[in-house]
């Protein structure tokens, strides 16, 4: 008591030194509590699902992110076994995870599938770490589950796109190789061959632009275009804007990816001949293209007049004719030409079935 009377007392009655200890302890506890609250707030408000479980797999904590991801409220989850969010066929995964946790190991970015309360599945990446006492004893595990459904969809879409591009590039190489082989015979000169090939490959390139897949669509679908868009694209290099010499009328139908290159090359041959010898070789020429569908077939009437001048019929068969024959054969169609005094008429008939492919 004596000694105690020697301590200076504060108004609270505690000696100053003791009061300092108490205040430090109080401040320390407050700081720890604030840190815990801060941490709890982060855990509670993060987008990831964060939960913990004991070594028997019983859920011991469940944040708001877990509720959002799996659909279970904390009271539906805490105290229940972790298998409420694991599809039955994946239960062995949990045995493996618990075994690793017991060995003190962590599981980092394990991609798997989990199940929501409504029984739907969700792709997740799991990070699981042991939870220890201060003495190092393993009590259970903390688990962070991140929804990777969107990332997986993006990756699958990217893979699909790459496959499609790879397929198309191979097709284009094959087509160009075929064009070169087909052009080889009967070329008048290397320059003429180069010019013809350049314009034909150009026609293929314009056709290819029309059937690019829609990258914004949810599902990557094969591109399609329409007959009119294809005709416009092929004829475009051979006429001025608002060129009254050319008119495209009649029906318009969808044309599928496989038919587009064939049609583009065929129309390109028609148009090239019109520029060299026919309607588009003269200012007062006229080209009308009429499309009609009947009896499961598309009929295209390609009519050229050259302003009162007759259009000369080629005396021999050139590469264009051979390409045309191969193209029509590929489309299982027919083509007929009628050379008249006032011009040329071409009738192309193709089964619709071949056009939508």
């Amino acid at each position: 008591m004596q000694r105690m009377t020697e301590f200076r007392s504060s108004p609270s009655g505690l000696p100053d030194s003791l009061r300092a200890i108490v205040e430090r302890e109080t401040a320390s506890r407050r700081a720890a509590a604030e840190a815990n609250a801060w941490l709890a707030s982060i855990v509670e408000n993060t987008d990831d699902a964060i939960l913990s479980k004991d070594l028997n797999g019983i859920i011991t904590s469940w944040n708001r992110g877990a509720t959002r991801l799996f659909g279970f409220e904390p009271e539906d989850a805490i105290g229940h076994h972790i298998t409420i969010i694991i599809p039955r066929e994946r239960w062995p995964e949990e045995d493996e995870i618990i075994a690793r946790i017991r060995r003190g190991e962590s599981v980092d970015h394990f991609e798997t599938v989990r199940q929501r309360k409504d029984a739907s599945f969700v792709d997740v990446a799991l990070t699981i770490s042991p939870v220890r006492t201060e003495g190092g004893e393993i009590l259970g595990a903390s688990k962070i589950a991140r929804d990777i459904s969107s990332a997986k969809r993006d990756a699958e879409r990217q893979e699909l796109l790459l496959r499609e591009m790879n397929h198309r590039i191979k097709n284009l190489f094959a087509m160009v190789t075929g064009l070169i082989s087909l052009s080889r015979r009967g070329a008048d000169s290397a320059d003429a061959l180069a010019d013809d090939l350049t314009t034909r490959v150009g026609a293929l390139a314009r056709a290819h632009d029309l059937i690019l897949p829609d990258l914004r669509a949810d599902a990557l679908t094969a591109g399609t275009t329409t007959l009119r868009a294809l005709l416009e694209a092929v004829v475009a290099p051979h006429r001025d804007v608002d060129d009254a010499r050319v008119s495209i009328d009649g029906c318009d139908i969808a044309v599928g990816t496989r038919a587009v290159p064939s049609l583009a090359l065929l129309f390109h041959e028609f148009a090239t001949n019109a520029v060299k010898y026919g309607a588009l070789a003269r200012l007062n020429g006229r080209l009308t293209i009429d499309c009609a569908v009947s009896d499961e077939h598309l009929a295209i009437e390609w009519r050229e007049t050259a302003g009162g001048v007759s259009i000369k019929q080629p005396s021999s068969e050139g590469f264009g004719s051979r390409l045309e024959r191969a193209t029509v054969r590929n489309l299982a169609g027919t083509v007929e030409r009628a050379w008249r005094k006032d011009g040329l008429s071409i009738r192309l008939v193709v089964p619709l079935q071949r056009l939508v492919a």
Binding site: T177, G178, L179, S181
Partner: protein
């Protein structure tokens, strides 16, 4: 299914790439061959049933459908032993063991000038 192969046999070209097929057909027709074409193995089998004069088959390996060119060639070798087989590919180089017996393999692109001598 034995059949007599004429000296200048008719040729069946099997390739799903129509312009490659067209170039071969055009070149061989110009050399005087009768040429048939098919864009798949199943279409090729229909052609063989319909045109008994076919004595040579030139087939690509990679084709859509349930049967590729190698499987087609094996089937032809078993069902039509006298038919001469030429397998071509730019992507795959089959081993000797994968090729049916008496089969010629050509790398793509096919040398058009050298092809007719293989067909006669």
């Amino acid at each position: 299914m034995d059949q007599e192969i004429p000296e200048r046999a008719s040729v069946l070209i099997v390739d799903d790439e129509w312009l490659i097929r067209a170039a071969l057909v055009d070149h061989l027709q110009n050399q005087g061959f009768e040429v048939f074409e098919a864009e798949s193995a199943s279409e090729a089998l229909q052609m063989l049933q319909a045109h008994h004069q076919i004595g040579v088959v030139v087939t690509d390996i990679q084709m859509p459908g349930s049967m590729d060119g190698l499987a087609l060639a094996r089937l032809i070798r078993d069902s039509y032993p006298p038919i001469r087989l030429i397998i071509a590919s730019g992507a795959i180089r089959p081993t000797e063991a994968e090729l049916p017996r008496d089969t010629v393999f050509l790398s793509k692109p096919i040398d058009l000038d050298g092809l007719p001598s293989l067909l006669r």
